[in-house]
């Protein structure tokens, strides 16, 4: 066993320990530690990815040297490595970009708590990505929930508290359903590790027994994770949650946490149940329908907003809909598209939340459209960031959103029954996206009402970008670059996703 194979375990443990250590550190040191931990994780994940790509196969890592039926396992393949790498990269950028806002939005005494939560979040995300054990997954789902809830409520405004309680309630519902799904699965198969469970499921399916329990398992597990990732119609906790957290938290929650659950769902489908049994259960059609509905209604709700934060949050509802639509297509191509969109949306949403925060800063910390008028001139970098993010959401070619759209559309072509629906949904959704993003965008570059921000310089003034923290600059620039890379050089990533998914089953 090569040393690299230990890295997944190391990164989970590293994140967790840095969280524990942070609890005795002051805010600033906790921050440094946290950033270092995420950075190291990123490097480790990259190594894992490289290893898997080179060897061309996945491997299973026993925790504590207990063999299969009893022990706890980690499994790493190309897709896991890639996901871990991109997740930690996005997280790193979100944290770096939001450092200054974390300082202002979170009370000084709670700074280290914030970074503890970040560390826990990272560790639980990585665990969700790597684990090969369903119950471990459940535990980390709960840790993730708690960390997420903490991240939301840390600003301690009334809004964020209620948002947190809603988040908690919905998450509990979701985890409860997921847990009952696990129990049923254990009941039926006697297994909790993914690979043996899959074998057992395969046998059961062959024997033709337990059809109804299997259906219930698929349904309950899917619904549980769908609730947690905010699929329409279980989305009503999303807007407040994403809208009223700090930019870092919003970026992470929207870009990564919900995606972690979706990733788990994909694993659940591929690694536990076989794709065939999933297809047979028709759960895909349900997810497809709700995904499409989410795309439409999320966007429609976003159009109705006048508050930028909520608008971006509702846009997430729509984007989650895209992902579920891809999963619901029930084809490998659809799955590839969905996974790609997980990354693409993660990167884009992080960019949007961060740069939007940069725009609020120069608009007297107000978030309504009117206040943001002309802020594109007052903070040029944030304006450009928002521009790129919006365009990517709208599916402008050369940006990541375009490739997602392309993948969704081409995968739709391969499933005749859902082709037309998907295509029309994509087109309509693009229009809706354009409506709310570009409405805001034109506002950003329209001079503010005269005298509104005299100190912040007029529409043509040279204040642009001054006062942006270095971290913010780096993060926004990197995310822009990231978007461009995903848009222009997507081929290797898509190939990696394809390989990774192939390794799953």
């Amino acid at each position: 066993m090569s040393f690299v194979q230990n890295f997944p375990f190391f990164s989970i443990i590293l994140a967790m320990f840095s969280g524990i250590v942070s609890s005795v550190l002051k805010g600033k040191k906790a921050r440094v530690l946290s950033i270092c931990a995420i950075g190291v994780t990123m490097v480790l994940s990259a190594a894992v990815l490289a290893h898997c790509v080179v060897t061309g196969e996945s491997y299973v890592y026993w925790m504590g040297h207990f063999p299969a039926p009893w022990g706890n396992e980690i499994r790493a393949g190309v897709l896991e490595g890639l996901t871990a790498l991109l997740f930690s990269a996005i997280m790193l950028l979100s944290v770096i970009g939001g450092v200054k806002y974390t300082q202002t939005d979170v009370e000084p005494g709670k700074q280290n708590l914030f970074y503890i939560l970040i560390d826990l979040m990272l560790s639980s995300l990585l665990a969700l990505v790597y684990t090969n054990d369903l119950f471990t997954a459940y535990v980390f789902v709960e840790i993730n929930t708690i960390a997420g809830c903490g991240l939301i409520m840390i600003t301690q405004t009334g809004r964020s508290l209620t948002a947190a309680i809603r988040y908690m309630v919905m998450s509990s519902l979701g985890s409860g359903l997921f847990l009952i799904g696990l129990s049923l699965l254990y009941d039926v198969t006697g297994q909790l590790l993914m690979s043996p469970a899959q074998e057992a499921v395969g046998k059961i399916v062959e024997s033709g027994q337990y059809e109804i329990p299997l259906l219930v398992i698929v349904a309950v597990g899917s619904v549980g994770l769908a609730i947690k990732s905010g699929l329409f119609p279980f989305h009503y906790w999303i807007p407040d949650t994403y809208g009223y957290a700090t930019p870092t938290a919003s970026a992470i929650l929207s870009g990564l946490v919900s995606k972690g659950y979706i990733f788990l769902l994909i694993k659940f489908y591929y690694r536990v149940l076989s794709p065939e049994s999933v297809v047979r259960s028709h759960i895909g059609n349900v997810l497809f329908l709700f995904g499409v509905a989410g795309m439409m209604l999320g966007s429609l709700r976003a159009i109705m907003q006048t508050d930028t934060r909520k608008m971006i949050a509702y846009s997430s509802v729509a984007q989650i809909g895209y992902i579920y639509m891809g999963i619901g297509l029930g084809t490998p191509e659809g799955m590839i598209a969905a996974v790609f969109h997980i990354f693409s949306h993660g990167a884009t949403k992080a960019l949007l939340f961060l740069s939007a925060r940069g725009l609020y800063r120069v608009s007297g910390d107000r978030t309504d459209f009117l206040a943001l008028r002309g802020s594109g001139y007052r903070n040029r970098l944030a304006g450009v960031g928002f521009l790129v993010g919006s365009l990517s959401m709208v599916g402008f070619p050369m940006l990541s959103g375009f490739i997602s759209k392309l993948l969704f559309a081409t995968s739709a072509m391969a499933s005749p029954g859902k082709m037309l629906t998907t295509l029309i949904a994509l087109a309509v959704s693009t229009v809706l996206n354009a409506v709310y993003f570009l409405r805001l965008l034109t506002g950003l570059y329209r001079p503010a009402r005269s005298g509104a921000y005299a100190a912040g310089a007029g529409p043509d003034g040279a204040a642009g970008g001054r006062g942006n923290a270095p971290g913010f600059r780096i993060a926004v620039l990197c995310l822009i670059a990231f978007n461009l890379i995903l848009g222009l050089f997507s081929q290797p990533i898509v190939r990696a996703i394809t390989e990774g998914l192939a390794m799953f089953s």
Partner: protein, 500 residues
């Protein structure tokens, strides 16, 4: 090397425009301003010459040049073919003149560097549409065009401008979203495996279902048609006239809207293939849409009293002439559509420039305010009248030629299709529209030259040479083309034959 040569005219203006943004803080003195202005004009002119030289050297056929690979079979590829040459040549000819005009027009406006930056970028992007060698590249530049031009509509920064901009954006992007579906369909079922344009189309007809193919074609047609202001997606164009006149004239009468029409031509004749579509319900649907647009827009133009908006409605109806030509699905139809694409560009830009000249000289924007101005600005209104006559299709002006080709193409398409009534209705509609054109264009000229009361003529003069030169040039060109348009038509007919 060849790739750079071919891509140069596309990217040079784009970089020039970006450079202009960077230079913005430096342009402080009048001296620097005129320096930048001169350099810009020189660059635009040089770019046009470059393009012209390319067309001349390649003779309308160049090997494909792949710039980079976007994803899978989606490559950004340039290729100069004859149809592309037509559009590229047209745009390259008009742009320097329009820039010259814009210098004079924008004299008193604010934010000039931004304006000219985007104006120049649009040049490159439009050439990108013209030079695109496959559907993907065209789609890419089509989208870019939206984003390069919306700041120009925004330029006045009034709330009216913002509303117009938003509408423009929604419509354009919505259209592109549906065009995207066509792109995907072509990509999936292309017989060559790529989306590279092939005269006569490259769709593997048997692969997708027949009705599905047609449905996707109709969707894509309407998608690209949005930029060509196809009813009911025309609403953005009249509003977009809040933009400064050089924008309305060049972009919303030529570059942007013609890109839409050009894209439709590419889609119809070089991707789906006219033979596949001929005689199907899809053909009648798109033709019907074009005809409804013509009737609707020319009627609306008569009702509109805002001068530029009236011209915009006229543009809408004339663009649908092109789309009607495209929807004939015959070689002659394509040739006629291209002819109208060229001719309409010249006459509409001429008309808009006149409106702009009047606006700068007198501030009048409503048709009802123009009484007697013709006597004070004879050159301007003379050119306008020439454009009006040409637009009506009065011989010997160029408009007649294109209308002639269009109608004869329609009639022969009708007889080819076994006496189908739709193209004949089309001819009738075009003639109705010509009458409406007469009403809405000539009533302006009559009003200007023969005011009801002789008293109180405003003391105004024709604009300076920078505005006047393009005007006179265009008017002269309309006459010259009308008289000796034969070689052009022959060349277009060749293109049609190749692709039909």
């Amino acid at each position: 090397m060849g790739g750079i040569l071919l891509a140069g005219p596309v990217f040079l203006p784009i970089f020039t425009g970006l450079l202009l943004f960077l230079l913005q803080p430096w342009i402080t003195t009048p001296r620097r301003r005129s320096l930048v202005r001169g350099a810009l004009l020189l660059l635009v002119l040089g770019n046009s010459l470059w393009m012209g030289a390319l067309i001349a050297i390649c003779g309308g056929e160049s090997p494909p040049q792949v710039l980079f690979r976007l994803y899978g079979e989606l490559t950004v590829m340039f290729r100069l073919d004859r149809m592309g040459s037509v559009f590229a040549g047209l745009v390259s000819f008009l742009w320097p003149l329009a820039t010259l005009y814009a210098f004079s027009y924008m004299e008193k406006e604010e934010r000039r560097p931004t304006f000219f930056g985007f104006y120049t970028i649009s040049f490159g992007v439009t050439l990108g549409v013209a030079l695109a060698g496959n559907l993907v590249t065209m789609y890419l530049f089509y989208e870019m065009l939206t984003f390069a031009t919306f700041p120009l509509v925004m330029h006045p920064m009034t709330s009216e401008a913002a509303r117009a901009t938003r509408r423009y954006l929604y419509y354009s992007i919505g259209g592109a979203a549906f065009a995207f579906l066509g792109l995907i369909y072509v990509l999936t079922y292309s017989a060559t495996g790529t989306t590279a344009f092939v005269p006569g189309g490259m769709l593997n007809a048997a692969a997708g279902g027949k009705d599905l193919t047609l449905l996707l074609y109709v969707l894509a047609f309407f998608g690209f048609g949005v930029k060509a202001a196809l009813f009911p997606f025309h609403g953005w164009l009249p509003r977009a006239t809040v933009a400064p006149t050089p924008v309305t004239a060049l972009l919303h009468a030529v570059a942007v809207v013609k890109s839409g029409a050009f894209a439709v031509l590419r889609l119809t004749y070089f991707s789906f293939g006219a033979a596949l579509l001929r005689g199907t319900w899809a053909q009648w649907v798109v033709m019907g849409a074009a005809l409804v647009t013509i009737v609707y827009a020319s009627t609306m133009a008569v009702r509109e009293v805002h001068w530029k908006r009236r011209l915009a409605y006229s543009t809408i109806s004339n663009l649908s002439y092109i789309l009607f030509g495209a929807s004939l699905m015959t070689p002659a139809g394509l040739a006629a559509a291209l002819a109208h694409l060229i001719v309409h560009a010249i006459m509409k830009i001429c008309a808009f420039f006149c409106a702009g000249a009047v606006q700068t000289q007198t501030g009048k924007i409503y048709v009802t305010e123009l009484d007697g101005l013709g006597r004070r600005m004879p050159a301007t209104f003379g050119c306008f009248t020439v454009a009006a006559l040409s637009l009506m299709g009065i011989p010997p002006f160029a408009g007649f030629l294109s209308k002639w080709s269009l109608c004869t193409a329609a009639l022969s398409a009708a007889s080819d299709a076994g006496g189908a009534a739709q193209p004949v209705v089309g001819v009738a509609v075009i003639l109705y529209s010509a009458l409406m054109t007469g009403i809405y264009m000539l009533s302006v000229s009559v009003r200007a030259f023969f005011p009801w009361r002789a008293a109180a003529l405003p003391d105004r003069r024709d604009p300076d040479w920078r505005m006047l030169l393009p005007l006179l040039l265009f008017a002269g060109l309309l006459l010259a083309l009308g008289l000796c348009g034969q070689p052009l038509l022959a060349a277009l007919a060749e293109i049609g034959k190749e692709a039909g």
